[in-house]
């Protein structure tokens, strides 16, 4: 006996639309069972996860702070993934973006004025692009595996940042602790509605990026080219699209957005460079990109849901006293349900005695 997945000829449009909600319901049910086994009241746990973080204005702000880098990075990654370029190094591009963007406030703190912030943001984008260009060029020119090269460059970026904040960029007033000087007021990305919380313009950038990228992917020739090169490079070459050009373009878009996320996070949320500035946003964004089905608008929703699960995990730790491991497991259940629902809508499970002759097994 073997179990196989058979592609459904006509996936249900209704279930396709309902899929995320169905997944949420399954997560809630499985989560409730898990919390009941742990001896916690399931309704309180689910409340802490999904509703408590949304009941207060400051918490909504925090949701946007957490979601902004995830969405920005994931949008860039989706472009890469659509074109069949596996950029796993967004974390590094995020860090290098943050470093490039911080040159002005850290090395030239006496340079002030309204130009500081725009220059920082542009340098952040440039930093991310430059760093993403390395695996892109290696792949385009030498056929290097971009998964490995982009991933390994993450560690280089992390160590480079670590060296900077312990060495040349160390805060002269900081008792030798490993951190840069604090950014001056002109170098801080402002909060959108500072009266009610600390959500900064990073989220606005994320929304703009999503809309622009949605337009490019769906309404322009470049977007078509990216999709074609991803699905059928051979057909793309017949159409006259350049393989190297697509690799470079998609990596630069991803790197630029990751760099923008990096400098926004450092300038808006942290306010200085530290040895570690990201709890793995560049990697989590890969999940966000796929949760959003590589669609920029879907990614906005996916980023918010994943950010909610982080905040909810903290709320559950405080109000129920569960360990953060439980919070992680719950997050895992959520991701699993989403992917399972999607899969089962497009495929049906078939238990076969011997290999099936019809349909496309996967």
């Amino acid at each position: 006996m073997r179990v196989e997945l058979v592609r459904r000829p006509h996936p249900s449009a209704l279930y396709g639309a309902l899929s995320p909600f169905l997944a949420l319901l399954i997560t809630a049910t499985l989560g409730a069972i898990m919390f009941a086994i742990l001896g916690k009241a399931p309704h309180l746990a689910l409340y802490a996860y999904f509703i408590e973080p949304l009941t207060e204005v400051w918490s909504l702000h925090e949701l946007l702070v957490k979601a902004a880098p995830l969405i920005l990075i994931a949008i860039g990654l989706s472009v890469c993934f659509l074109s069949n370029n596996w950029n796993i190094g967004a974390e590094g591009q995020f860090i290098i973006g943050a470093i490039f963007g911080s040159v002005l406030p850290v090395m030239f703190p006496e340079f002030r004025g309204p130009f500081v912030l725009p220059i920082m943001l542009l340098m952040g984008i440039l930093g991310g692009m430059t760093y993403a260009a390395i695996p892109a060029l290696l792949k385009a020119k030498l056929n290097t595996n971009e998964i490995l090269s982009s991933l390994m460059l993450v560690y280089v970026a992390q160590l480079f940042l670590d060296w900077l904040v312990r060495g040349p960029w160390r805060n002269p007033q900081g008792f030798n602790f490993p951190e840069s000087r604090n950014f001056h007021a002109d170098a801080v990305l402002p909060e959108v509605i500072s009266a009610s919380g600390r959500a900064h313009y990073g989220f606005v950038f994320a929304i703009i990026a999503a809309v622009v990228m949605w337009y490019i992917l769906n309404r322009t020739l470049k977007g078509f080219e990216i999709r074609v090169m991803g699905q059928s490079p051979r057909a793309g070459r017949f159409a006259g699209f350049s393989r190297a050009g697509t690799i470079l373009t998609t990596f630069l878009i991803a790197g630029g957005l990751a760099g923008l996320a990096g400098i926004s996070e450092v300038s808006g949320a942290i306010g200085q460079l530290r040895p570690v500035i990201s709890p793995g946003y560049g990697f989590t964004a890969i999940i966000v990109a796929f949760l959003g089905r590589l669609n920029p608008l879907g990614i906005v929703a996916a980023g918010l849901v994943l950010a909610l699960s982080y905040l909810g995990g903290e709320a559950a730790q405080i109000s129920l006293g569960v360990s953060n491991k439980v919070a992680n497991v719950f997050q895992g259940i959520l991701l699993f349900s989403v992917l399972a629902c999607d899969t089962l809508i497009h495929y049906r499970v078939r238990i076969a005695g011997r290999p099936s002759a019809e349909g496309q097994g996967v």
Binding site: L25, P279, E314, I318, S323, N324
Partner: protein, 356 residues
């Protein structure tokens, strides 16, 4: 559909419950950088939290968040505590310093206690730290007595002053016994990573050290030392269970007295901002039982411990030379607090270049 209805009902019920006031007079909250199961740094802070619960019973309610990354997440975690009715919040990692001060400015009625930092920007922030280096001196003395190769290995986390102080104190202690004693240092750049720490321990042993000491929080180096049959010192908690034949002693961070004292101050309404640096005298630094060593070494260790506890002796007392051979402290001179807090140089005898 029935599930949805149930879910909504549950949410409504939860609203009601969440609104209920708690019977406790004071809520004390703790933010940890690692998991409470690390058997090191965060574990010891959590032991302090449990001591608070035990001491005050129903009068005090506690809560904690573990594995909170330093950076943007810390600010949210601390703010969440401040908003959820905590009266006093202990933030137990250096990287929480700026977020703690930022949130403290927003919540003047909540007390904040930040471990190992130096910033107190508002009157509702205290900082506290511990003179772990006092225990390192005793470890150094024991190492010099017990070691056969004359070389010890030191698994260090990050080159911040607290860690550098420990390394210097260790070598000063060792050289007070054996002036030629050598110390090899490996920087692992993490507080908690059992794999990396174990690799560092193996590398050091392969280079000929027969004593391992660590300034990282997992029990992995102790376990490696046990497998390879050499001796080691535990860190932050008593790790004897992970190397009954291996652990010579361990520097135990005992936060319980401080946490009980500060929570009591909040209960009594006497809490004030302060900057404390407690050590053996206050019971903040405790040595695990001296074991796996000859009796005369044990006596020597106990004698030094008594001298440090009584204040008769301080490890950083001259004459001490810096690594480059220049004089740092003259005969009898004691290190000033500014140099201690910002220590970024080795003393003579350390076989390593301090990462700059």
């Amino acid at each position: 559909m029935r599930n949805t209805t149930k879910f909504v009902l549950a949410a409504v019920a939860a609203f009601g419950l969440a609104g209920q006031a708690s019977a406790a007079e004071v809520k004390a909250c703790f933010v940890y950088v690692g998991p409470i199961g690390d058997f090191g740094w965060s574990y010891q802070h959590d032991q302090g939290r449990l001591a608070v619960e035990e001491e005050f019973g129903d009068k005090v309610e506690t809560a904690y968040l573990e594995s909170v990354p330093e950076g943007a997440d810390a600010e949210r975690a601390i703010e969440r505590f401040a908003r959820s009715g905590c009266d006093i919040i202990f933030t137990t990692s250096f990287g929480y310093m700026d977020p703690t001060n930022k949130i403290a400015a927003k919540f003047p009625d909540v007390k904040f206690e930040h471990a190992t930092g130096y910033k107190r920007e508002t009157p509702n922030v205290s900082v506290y730290s511990s003179k772990f280096y006092q225990g390192r001196y005793i470890q150094g003395q024991i190492a010099a007595k017990v070691s056969e190769t004359g070389v010890a290995g030191y698994i260090a986390s990050f080159p911040i002053p607290e860690v550098v102080r420990g390394i210097n104190s260790f070598i000063l202690g060792a050289q007070s016994i054996d002036p030629d004693f050598k110390l090899k240092v490996v920087w692992v750049n993490t507080w908690f990573d059992p794999g990396k720490e174990a690799d560092a321990a193996k590398a050091l042993i392969d280079q000929g050290v027969d004593i391992i000491t660590q300034h990282t929080d997992s029990t992995a180096p102790m376990q490696v030392a046990a497998e390879r049959g050499i001796k080691a010192f535990g860190q932050a908690s008593d790790m004897a269970n992970f190397g009954p034949e291996t652990q010579l002693t361990s520097i135990i961070d005992d936060w319980a007295p401080y946490y009980v004292e500060r929570v009591k101050a909040v209960l009594d309404g006497t809490w004030e901002s302060q900057d404390v640096w407690h050590g053996m005298a206050e019971g903040n630094v405790v040595m695990a039982p001296y074991a796996n060593m000859p009796d005369d070494v044990k006596e020597m260790a106990q004698e030094t411990e008594a001298k440090i506890t009584s204040g008769e002796f301080e490890p950083f007392t001259g004459p001490i030379k810096k690594q480059d051979g220049s004089e740092w402290l003259a005969e009898g001179e004691k290190a000033d607090i500014g140099t201690m807090l910002g220590m970024n140089f080795y003393v003579e005898g350390v076989d390593d270049q301090l990462p700059q």
